[in-house]
Amino acid sequence: MVNIQNLNFNYSKHLVFKDISLTLKAGKIYGLLGQNGVGKTTLLKIMSGLLKPKSGSCTIMGYNPFDRNPGFLQELFFIPEDFVGPDIIVNDFARLRGQFYPNYDTNKFSRLMTDFEVKGNSKFTQLSFGQQKKAIIAFALSTNTKLILLDEPSNGLDIPSKSQLRKVISQASTEESCIVISTHQVRDLENLIDPIIILDKNAVLLNESIENISKELSFSFSNTPANDALYCEATLGGYLVVQRNTTNQESKVNIEALFNAVLINKQEIREIFNSK
């Protein structure tokens, strides 16, 4: 679905990606994690054709995204973090744009709008930021495109909407589609994103499925901090410990702990997953 090879990108003197390679497959919901400024949004923008790589290649479904061919655009939907809707009625927005997407489903849009409790007969400008975001997410999922890129989709959503979001995204995922979600709010999307991609300055630190992560790392609670822990975090009544999995018993991956463990032990994590 997405094939990035030796990609380099910089904003004038600020280097963002140096020779990164990444492959994303259909049928998965990728979680794109990373600290502020590592290039999560930039990567999504390169994948959607909004930015042009300085060198290297990014190929999506055989297309070069920056060519912005209609055939590519009708199979892609990108929702930016701070989506600003135009000054038109939401239903008109969906009707006028939906005709450009061959698999657009009007009924699905109406259903999702009802699920999200957003009034489709209001103008975007009359809706709150969270409601605008829900409306565009409803539209994005109704287009049934093969690649959906969501930049911080849970930002601005209230608690019930976050659980709705998890539900609708998991329902939208099919064997042919690939969803990439960039987020800081990993707890909002836990149990949804798999595989996990963790970006570091200029590079990809980790791109692994939850299954592989739980094979290689163990996540446990302990009364005392472990000496050989990759990461240890004090919690109520003990410690959350991330260690190498030496017992072959799989544990539930705590994405937040994983993220911190990866950031602290970059080299070791690379060795663990590269030696598989």
């Binding site: 135009p86 006028l96 450009f100």
Partner: protein, 268 residues
């Protein structure tokens, strides 16, 4: 699938663009028509004299020209906006289709609607109140030669504005005006340099001939009559033709090509 141009997709796009921009188009056409109504009401209130059809026809041209100039900034101001522009650039249509649709809306539809709306308003008022609005502006406006010359000049100016709208991300109007002024200043300096240094002798000779040059007040295209003037040296004639070609051919092509290039390569 045709990735460059599909008529089906293009008409869908045009329909979408029109549907979204109709309120703005009506607002602009309505504003200029209301100004004419206001003018008529002021004549009635202050008991002013009758307004001639020619002066109102001039207003029609000025209003249409203003509409042409502000159309790109009004209808497509957010195309290269880092956030608002994303929605449009990722719409599944080719750059060619988006470009043509943008040109149709800014060059034809908005100015034409404004032009017709003002003329319609003028015709109604002239019929209702012939003592205030003498004659019909439509009769003066429909002078084909004048229309063609005015449209040609306005179109070139508008192409520059369309390009400016895509070239600049912030303060588009002021930057476009300043860049336009700078461009004309540079061209004027080149012409002056040519006349006073390169073809100085021929330029001085003009003084000694009985050539009388009058540039019409209606249109820059009246400069075309200069080419047939007697007594002008070949260098000056060449400069004149070069200037005219630059103004009427190179600049519009440059603006149109530049706009297309910016649309195609804009990064967000």
């Amino acid at each position: 699938m045709n990735e460059i141009f599909s008529s089906n997709r293009f008409f869908k796009l045009l329909k979408k663009e029109l549907a979204e921009r109709v309120p703005m188009i009506i607002k602009m056409a309505g504003t200029f028509s209301l100004i004419l109504v206001g003018y008529w009401v002021s004549i009635l209130i202050f008991d002013g004299g009758a307004s001639s059809a020619t002066s109102r026809a001039t207003y029609v041209f000025i209003a249409t020209f203003i509409t042409m100039v502000i159309a790109p900034f009004n209808l497509y101001k957010s195309y290269n906006h880092p956030k608002k522009g994303i929605d449009y650039v990722l719409l599944p249509a080719s750059v060619t289709e988006k470009y043509l649709s943008m040109l149709i809306n800014t060059v034809i539809i908005l100015p034409l609607v404004t032009f017709c709306a003002i003329l319609f308003t003028d015709t109604i008022i002239s019929t209702l109140s012939p003592s205030s609005f003498s004659g019909y502006a439509i009769n003066s406006v429909l002078n084909t030669q004048r229309i063609l010359e005015s449209i040609a000049d306005a179109l070139i100016f508008q192409q520059g504005c369309i390009f400016g709208n895509f070239l600049f991300k912030k303060n588009k109007v002021s930057k476009t005006i300043m860049s336009g002024a700078a461009l004309y200043l540079v061209l004027a300096l080149i012409v002056v340099f040519f006349l006073t240094v390169v073809a100085r002798d021929q330029f001085i000779n003009i003084d000694t001939t009985n050539t009388h040059i009058v540039i019409g007040q209606n249109s820059l295209s009246q400069l075309g009559k200069l080419g047939s003037a007697d007594g002008l040296g070949s260098a000056i004639k060449a400069l004149y033709y070069l200037a005219m070609t630059t103004f009427y051919v190179f600049m519009p092509i440059g603006f149109l090509t530049g706009t297309f290039y910016k649309m195609k390569t804009q990064q967000y």
